[in-house]
């Protein structure tokens, strides 16, 4: 791939300034009249996690009444296992800004908010420097906002709420942000990686973009590979590449592994035997009942217990609940507490059955999809680690811990 998001000078050299960016890719083109059609043919889907078709979203915003729209480039990236958005902004900030400019042109927006997680210091610095390199008229349309360090900060309604009122908590829908968002105007919220892909599609066309993928899949995608690999790395892969090939591109596995967490905390566990062969393509995975989410591939290392890891993630998600909606506040807290007891081999009677029942009625019962994510994670864990959960609850034994004991 000579042209791609991360092609060009290696990322370790820091951000790509405007002139090398333009030398490599050419100047930002005027917004092509049929850009949305081209995006539709490229089959680009949102890279923030939900995977919504980009063209449909843009058309909805462009056709909304209610004043000139606003574009929000979402670089909140609260997912603890993901690195892609912050590293993309650190290394290729001009691609993100190009994409945001193109989006603004296509939907008729006159203002762009670059929303970056406050803890992504390198990304904020790079985006800020990149803004200063743009023309005065471009700068006048750009605003950089740092997002509070919190898992839900990047959720669409939370981002709008923060920019409007300084409160980074989700709000009830309707209205959805594309109807009424920043300053009450229709707001296009798009993940920063998605916008960077647009910057390439607008320059080189949808035929070219589609050809980057493997098989039926289109384009490239950023993937954070972590866990049982030499180190957590960000890679750009042709969409559709087998998960095993992506893991090998990240240096290969450093231990045997029984399971992979695919899609991050909002994704799900997959048995390794199945996972290795899965195509890393948002569409294909959805059809198979999985989710690429925000592109996280976390390989569970040997010696780590899936029940314990799941309980750890649930504790995090329960803690990060905005605590605005009862089912999430109380249900998720209870699930997390029960999972914690099972993980620690101190279950109380019924814990496993409760986890199953409570998680089964969690989805769709919050203002945002925080409870849905947790419910999906629990369901996958109960399936993939079924035997281990039983061992923990009934025998108060952990096969991984007992191995460790046996080895010592």
């Amino acid at each position: 791939m000579s042209i791609a998001l991360l092609a060009g000078p290696p990322g370790g050299q820091g951000m790509e300034s405007l002139s090398p960016h333009q030398q490599r890719l050419g100047a930002l083109p005027a917004v092509p009249p049929a850009l949305i059609d081209s995006i539709e043919r490229s089959n680009l889907r949102g890279k923030g996690g939900a995977g919504f078709p980009v063209a449909i979203k843009w058309r909805s915003v462009a056709s909304q009444p209610g004043g000139a729209p606003v574009v929000l480039a979402n670089g909140g990236e609260g997912e603890p296992l993901s690195r892609k958005d912050r590293m993309l902004m650190e290394q290729r900030p001009h691609l993100v800004i190009d994409g945001a400019m193109l989006a603004a042109g296509a939907v008729g927006a006159d203002e762009i908010v670059l929303y970056v997680g406050a803890d992504h210091v390198g990304a904020i610095q790079a985006m800020h420097r990149a803004m200063t390199e743009r023309t005065a008229s471009e700068r006048a349309r750009l605003r950089l906002v740092s997002a509070p360090v919190r898992y839900v900060s990047g959720e669409e309604t939370a981002a709008v709420h923060f920019i409007n009122d300084g409160i980074a908590l989700p709000t009830s829908i309707p209205p959805r942000p594309f109807e009424r968002g920043i300053d009450g105007r229709p707001t296009l919220i798009q993940n920063v990686e998605t916008l960077a892909h647009v910057a390439l599609i607008a320059r080189f066309g949808d035929d070219w973009y589609r050809s980057l993928g493997t098989g039926n899949a289109s384009g490239t995608t950023l993937v954070t590979v972590g866990g049982a690999v030499p180190q957590t790395v960000l890679i750009e892969i042709p969409q559709g590449m087998a998960l095993a090939d992506a893991v090998n591109a990240a240096g290969g596995i450093t231990s045997d592994s029984d399971a992979v967490l695919l899609g991050g905390y909002f994704g799900g566990w997959v048995e390794s035997s199945t996972a290795w062969g899965l195509p890393l393509d948002a569409d294909a995975l959805r059809q198979l009942g999985y989710s690429l989410g925000c592109g996280v591939v976390a390989v569970l290392p040997a010696g780590r217990c899936g029940v314990v890891e799941t309980a750890r993630i649930l504790a995090y998600l329960a803690h990060e609940s905005a605590r605005q909606c009862g089912p999430c506040t109380f249900g998720l807290r209870a699930i997390s507490a029960a999972a914690g007891r099972v993980a620690a081999l101190t279950p109380t009677p019924g814990d496993l059955e409760h986890i199953q029942r409570w998680a089964g009625v969690l989805a769709g019962r919050g203002a945002c999809r925080h409870p849905d994510g947790a419910a999906g994670l629990v369901a996958s864990a109960l399936r993939v680690f079924a035997a281990e959960f039983q061992l923990h609850e009934h025998d108060r034994r952990c096969s991984v811990a007992s191995l460790a004991v046996a080895a010592s």
Binding site: P170, S172, I173, C325, G326, P327, G331, V361, R365, G366
Partner: protein, 72 residues
């Protein structure tokens, strides 16, 4: 039918008083913490008056009737 209605809820407003489950048990049950679990889909015509009473009787005004096509 254009006016097939379902029960919608503002989850942030809902405080789990549970009045709704008493008024329209055909459509709403409560979870272990007293928060409503709403049955998906259209409200049967015979149940609609009860559903309307649940909407107007909610102490936090968290319930609404909405077209079935809406997502929540």
């Amino acid at each position: 039918m254009s006016d097939r209605l379902a029960i919608g809820i503002d989850r942030i407003k809902c405080d789990g008083h549970g009045v709704c489950a008493d008024l329209v048990p055909e459509m709403i049950e409560l979870d272990d913490w007293g928060y409503p679990i709403i049955r998906a889909g259209a409200i049967p015509p015979s149940v609609l008056p009860h559903a309307r009473r649940a909407v107007s009787g909610c102490p936090t005004l968290a319930l609404r009737l909405q077209r079935v096509a809406a997502r929540r």
